[in-house]
């Protein structure tokens, strides 16, 4: 089938943009089968023949059209122009939020310039004092409340260096349908930097946890967006078990360097595998509590997911939800950008990326170029340490020229896979981890 170009295709694209329901009806027909004129229309819409079209699931929007808005919404994406940062995709300027496209995450250790940015409040004034004089307080259900300077912390407690994945709790939100509140992330709110710091549990042991110590609450120096000085921008907390995990760090350095200001200088928490909002930046205080923390970002539908699945798009106050803790399994493809055009006659493509699964590990990654009809297994490396992401690599065959989608699906150590669609819809859009995919065009 020869791809067509010109007016009709633009018409279909515009139709998809303006009236997706009608576009779906036109392209897929009432029975959802993609053949004949509909197939021609879809081929035209993606700009090429679709070799495995008969295996395309009914109703599926081609990846070429279906990437979340972060990859470029209605035109050119708004790119970050800031010294010390790569041109990340800006999702919002105030608060500053920027996503790292998957193909920019090919480094084994995420460099500071490619580290995604998520803020809930204003970015505080940079600390002009000696970083060693910054004070961190540990208070609440402890025998001896502590007020330690970073200089004292470095002297008194052993420093550890670990590669730790840190992911926004809303990563993948853009895959939910219907759309939910919040930043419409693709898969790019993920990082795996090398963090140096002291274990939070060492500080908690020095303070002496009381019998009643069950939860944490974290506070940072970033002002609330409204400027209200009595309102924290965000203040989340976790079960004490996670605070005592050997990989939960009070981090002082990122990739061997002082932490960049926008990433929480001079000290931040790193709570790997759990929603990034727990990894409080510009850290000033950790409150140990007997009851779950109640700061902004806790309770209701914030960082919480339904236990009993709710109707997508319905209203819910989140009273019966539970906190999102360990993040779900996910994979990214880092060496070929979505939308890459390959020379005619290309019959194979080496692909690689990373996969991770919160507190768990990744057991397998599978690849498909025929919409999931057949899968092949990729190689998956061991993590550099617990809570580090894992490199996967493989090669896919492309039997003809034309439009292909590369689907990549990770399976965690409990056997749970990335599902075909984002499930367990919730009003603020947490936990979307559908099978990842990019589109390439051969010829």
């Amino acid at each position: 089938m020869k791809p067509r170009t010109g007016r009709p295709e633009r018409g279909l694209l515009e139709l998809y943009r303006d009236d997706p329901e009608r576009a779906d009806a036109l392209v897929w027909g009432r029975r959802g089968a993609l053949r004949g004129a509909a197939l021609a229309a879809m081929g035209a819409a993606v700009g090429a023949a679709i070799p495995f079209a008969r295996r395309m699931p009914p109703g599926l929007v081609p990846a070429a059209l279906a990437q979340p808005a972060a990859s470029g919404s209605g035109g050119q994406p708004n790119l970050l122009r800031m010294e010390g940062k790569a041109p990340l995709v800006i999702l919002g300027e105030r608060p500053l939020v920027a996503e790292t496209p998957e193909h920019m995450l090919d480094d084994e250790v995420t460099p500071a310039d490619k580290f995604f940015i998520r803020n809930n409040g204003q970015i505080p004034e940079p600390f002009a004092g000696d970083p060693k004089s910054w004070t961190l307080r540990i208070e609440g259900e402890v025998n001896t409340p502590l007020a330690l300077t970073l200089g004292e912390i470095e002297q008194r407690f052993p420093l550890v260096t670990r590669r730790l994945q840190m992911e926004c709790g809303g990563n993948g939100r853009g895959f939910f349908s219907p759309e939910t509140r919040g930043n419409q992330w693709g898969n790019g709110a993920i990082s795996c930097a090398e963090w140096t710091g002291v274990r939070l549990r060492d500080l908690l042991q020095a303070a002496g946890l009381k019998e009643s110590a069950r939860f944490t609450g974290h506070y940072g120096a970033d002002p609330h967006l409204s400027g209200d000085p009595n309102r924290p921008a965000i203040s989340r907390g976790m079960r004490i078990e996670k605070a005592l995990d050997e990989d939960t760090l009070v981090a002082l350095r990122m990739n061997g360097q002082p932490i960049p200001h926008v990433h929480g200088a001079p000290v931040r928490l790193i709570v790997p595998g759990w929603p990034g909002s727990l990894s409080q930046k510009w850290l000033t205080r950790i409150l140990i509590r007997a009851t779950p923390h109640d700061g902004p970002g806790m309770g209701g539908t914030s960082y919480r997911v339904p236990v009993r699945p709710i109707v997508p798009g319905s209203r819910n106050d989140g009273r019966d939800f539970v906190d999102l803790e360990s993040m779900p399994v996910r994979s990214i493809l880092t060496n070929v950008a979505h939308g890459t055009r390959l020379p005619a006659g290309t019959r194979g493509l080496d692909v690689r990326g990373f996969a991770w699964a919160g507190d768990k590990t990744v057991r397998a990654v599978h690849l498909s170029v025929d919409y999931g009809a057949t899968w092949q297994e990729a190689r998956v490396a061991e993590p550099a340490n617990r809570h580090a992401w894992q490199r996967w690599s493989g090669r896919v065959a492309l039997p003809t020229d034309g439009y292909y989608e590369i689907w990549y699906r990770a399976t965690d150590s409990d056997g749970r896979m990335q599902p075909h669609v984002a499930g367990n819809w919730n009003p603020q859009g947490y936990g979307a981890n559908p099978i990842s995919r990019i589109a390439v065009l051969v010829g």
Binding site: V61, Q67, A439
Partner: protein, 160 residues
């Protein structure tokens, strides 16, 4: 006799000149070398220089961030419609318009969002008429996108 006088006068003159030079009455006067700075003074100066460098770095970083986080937005960045000015005024008090422009909700969802903004995000409560105008505008300008293709990226392979 004259010669003897001349010699004596020369010697006296030489003695006076040398004496004067030695005691700094004329000629090149060497400043007494200052005492070497104490280690404490050195440390103090270094600390001052470091503090000045940190303050300068902090100022520069704040300026860089301000350039990114304070976009020069005007109401025209939003699609035209009744209520646009109110929406721009109420919403951009706290956040830029990017999150508005990317959102697609039903009127009910936009309305609920106003409660959420007041309860969770510290927005000043809106009076009934203001709220109606704001929600009407948002629901008309950014209606819910049904299906999964409503706010999707342009096709990377169709460039004309």
């Amino acid at each position: 006799m004259t010669l003897t006088r001349a010699v004596i006068a020369s010697l006296v003159l030489a003695a006076v000149v040398l004496f004067g030079q030695k005691h700094g009455l004329w000629g090149v006067r060497e400043a007494p070398a200052p005492p070497p700075p104490t280690p404490a003074a050195l440390a103090f100066r270094r600390a001052q220089e470091e503090a000045a460098a940190r303050a300068e770095a902090a100022r520069a970083e704040a300026a860089r961030l301000a350039a990114v986080t304070q976009p020069a937005e005007t109401p025209e960045v939003l699609p035209p419609g009744e209520g646009r000015e109110e929406v721009f005024g109420a919403c951009t008090a706290c956040h830029s318009t990017a999150i508005i422009r990317r959102s697609r909700f039903t009127r009910q969802q936009w309305d609920d969002l106003m409660d959420w903004m007041v309860e969770k995000q510290g927005m000043n409560p809106l009076d009934a008429e203001q709220r109606r105008r704001i929600v009407d505008y948002l629901a008309a300008a950014f209606p819910a996108a049904s299906g999964s293709a409503g706010r999707r990226a342009p096709n990377p392979f169709l460039t004309d």
